[in-house]
Subunit: 443 residues, 2 copies
């Protein structure tokens, strides 16, 4: 189950970085933000550029264009042939890749520290000099459609998640899949890609993160040479997206697919996200998700899996690192002979019981200990640290927010957790409950 | 119950006009379509301008702007003071009004036939010379917000319909209310209004309908003088809206409001709309809705209201006159002591039974007779005829489509109806079922 893996990954990416990370942040004259993370244990460097533009910044009707453009950025520029970018990175012993999310699009390379200038030269080049041919469009569109086929169409859980999200958001673009709706992806064209590129790809809409065996002054000098030479875009749109209306009706959906071998249920609630300078509520929700559904000793697993054998798996998930309202999610895989209805009723009972009895203090301390442990782990991983700063800055958080996050998590009290739980669970009108099951076989 | 009234109105507006209506259609050099309907029984004229732009043509985040602009069009122009437009119409013994829908915005006046030129002069003036002040924006925004309060916020059924529509459409703008989401309406400003006006208000995006005691040649001469003098907009956007992805999960929602005195249930299915030159399926769906839920002798009412006393009201509703995919709707108000679950099960049984046993031939003939009767009725109403042509042309239908519609309805066979019913009811994955009820009172 993919969401299980995602759930675990989350533990290690939700936590913050400490003020004692050797982090230097500054802004170039053209508005491009730069974060330098020093880590001299190995002579390598991670070089990343994050654009404050993701799938939720797309225009209606061209879903998937942010991700399509991410692919197209590996085609040619004025001075590079299609595919040459990655070939040069590889020839220099490096690795490169890219990723698109709701709120950002990022490009990264990991290379020997002495190749940093080459990376900057190439990355700044494709920020402004992208060259696309009709052939690039046709071939790469085939690639993203095939990617959708593999990741979504062939995966009932992914199809289900798309329908859940589309039902959760009545107005906001988070209801549209990052990879795009199939019927819209199939007609994406060069104009669509270039319109998105021209609108959002600019130094004053980007964050440069360099992490590894580097000195801040040297990075600054190089950044000024390559990125600083690019003019700021004066017509960059304000980042104000349509927000949700009041959600007034609890929604339910039922997703049937013959490929489903194990029925399960999911519930999502609209939930607040991390806000700059005000991360306390998101911290409480992060801890709440761990308490309820993080691992075998969590409340849901203890009650549903071990005490009553109602479920074979339970989890809770909260992804607070978004620009706009996010979701708090619950998943239950019922035990054999337990119906989805019974499992849901049992889940609701556990939640109601939790609201009544409150947090176990020892359990809360254990969760906080785990968070501290995972934080130490993450600080050993320079790329994870770079991701943390890039991701945070691309949703409007500051370096200070990132560095304050572990302390804010540590300061979460029982009262904070219960207040967050009350806020999420008391009003179910902004929730969606979904059942995933195989269709009944009729003779 | 408002939906009941809407249901009845529908009978009279769904039918078409005959080729023997005295209708003349032509297009001005600048692309403005003109329809003239002669009716010399009284010395009055209805003068309408329809723009091919409604709420579904709005940009994200500014829901309600089409309707807001409709209000603002009664403010001043270069030569008229705010409010003067309607004052002049009234002073000349006429009435005026306007309306906004998903697919169009329309303005109309009914005046003595000899005042037609004055109407054209004023209507063509505000097509291009609208003048808005900051005061206009503030005061009229208060008016539309109050309109929303009265029509929607104070009406649980309206709030429910909004949530149903938002759940029905995962991608298309029909999921956004015409009047707008409250939080977006409250920040609509002059730039938003003028952007919509500049984008869509142009002779080549408009249809002039003149109906009443007029001669086509005289109308043409006047139209050329006033509307023909306005330049076509060369950058009019193509009317291609984001369409629905595959809907893969049956949705349900539950709407609770203490003001609900009578619980009821609604079901909507995504359904095809009338298409130019291909109205047969929409005709079959129109007849199907009448058969299932049009009045006391309909299948749902006969079975649920009279045979089994399960319901006190049942109806079916299909509005085919849209640009994009529309919905087929069912409503059931259960009898006292019948739960919504029981009523729904009974409704589904009636539908299943209908799919099995098919159409009663005598019932079908009766429906067709009613349609013919309502058509004769409508032809007596010059404004209804004008609405018919204006509405049809604004969603891309032609004068010929409007005139062919009654014959296409008459030609609907039992097989057509059953094929349409199969198409709607066989796959419930594109359906939404909603319960409306008062919250349980807890002590």
């Amino acid at each position: 189950m993919r969401f299980l893996i995602l759930g675990f990954l989350f533990v290690f990416t939700a936590v913050g970085a400490r003020a004692d990370d050797k982090v230097t942040a500054f802004t170039l004259d053209n508005g491009m933000d730069v974060v330098v993370i020093e880590d001299n244990r190995a002579p390598v460097v991670v070089h990343m550029v994050w654009y404050r533009a993701g799938s939720a910044d797309e225009d209606p009707g061209v879903s998937g264009i942010a991700h399509f453009l991410e692919h197209l950025m590996f085609k040619g520029t004025d001075s590079l042939d299609p595919g040459e970018f990655s070939a040069i990175v590889a020839k220099n012993g490096g690795r490169d890749n890219a990723f698109t999310s709701y709120d950002y699009t990022g490009y990264f390379q990991r290379v020997a520290a002495d190749r940093l200038e080459l990376m900057m030269q190439m990355e700044s080049d494709r920020m402004v000099n992208l060259q696309l041919s009709p052939d690039d469009i046709v071939s790469e569109r085939g690639v993203i459609i095939e990617e959708r086929n593999q990741r979504v169409e062939n995966n009932p859980s992914s199809l289900f998640r798309e329908q859940m999200n589309a039902s959760q958001y009545l107005n906001h673009r988070y209801g549209t899949p990052i990879i795009g709706w199939q019927h819209e992806m199939s007609v994406l064209d060069m104009d669509d890609a270039l319109a998105y590129y021209d609108k959002f790809y600019a130094p004053n809409n980007a964050i440069l993160v360099v992490a590894g065996d580097v000195a801040p002054d040297a990075v600054k000098a190089l950044a000024e040479t390559y990125y600083g030479a690019i003019q700021a875009k004066t017509n960059l749109p304000e980042r104000l997206r349509p927000q949700e209306p009041r959600q007034l009706a609890e929604r339910r959906l039922s997703f049937e697919d013959p490929r489903v071998s194990q029925p399960y249920l999911a519930r999502s609630y609209l939930a607040p996200e991390r806000d700059p300078g005000a991360q306390e509520k998101a911290a409480a929700l992060t801890v709440l998700a761990e308490l309820l559904g993080g691992g075998n000793t969590s409340v849901l697993n203890e009650k549903l899996q071990f005490d009553t054998s109602t479920a074979v798996y339970a989890s809770a998930y909260y992804r607070g690192s978004t620009l706009d309202d996010t979701t708090f999610n619950l998943y239950i895989v019922p035990a054999e002979d337990v119906s989805l209805e019974e499992a849901e009723a049992a889940m609701d009972e556990v939640i109601a019981d939790f609201l009544e009895t409150g947090v176990d203090a020892e359990h809360l301390e254990r969760i906080k200990m785990q968070i501290r442990a995972s934080e130490i782990y993450v600080r050993d991983d320079v790329r994870a640290l770079a991701n943390r700063y890039g991701g945070a800055l691309s949703i409007g958080l500051t370096v200070e927010d990132v560095q304050a996050w572990p302390d804010i998590l540590s300061a979460v009290t029982e009262e904070d957790v219960m207040a967050a739980a009350e806020e999420i669970f008391t009003d179910n009108r902004n929730s969606v409950t979904g059942y995933v099951l195989a269709p009944e076989v009729t003779q």
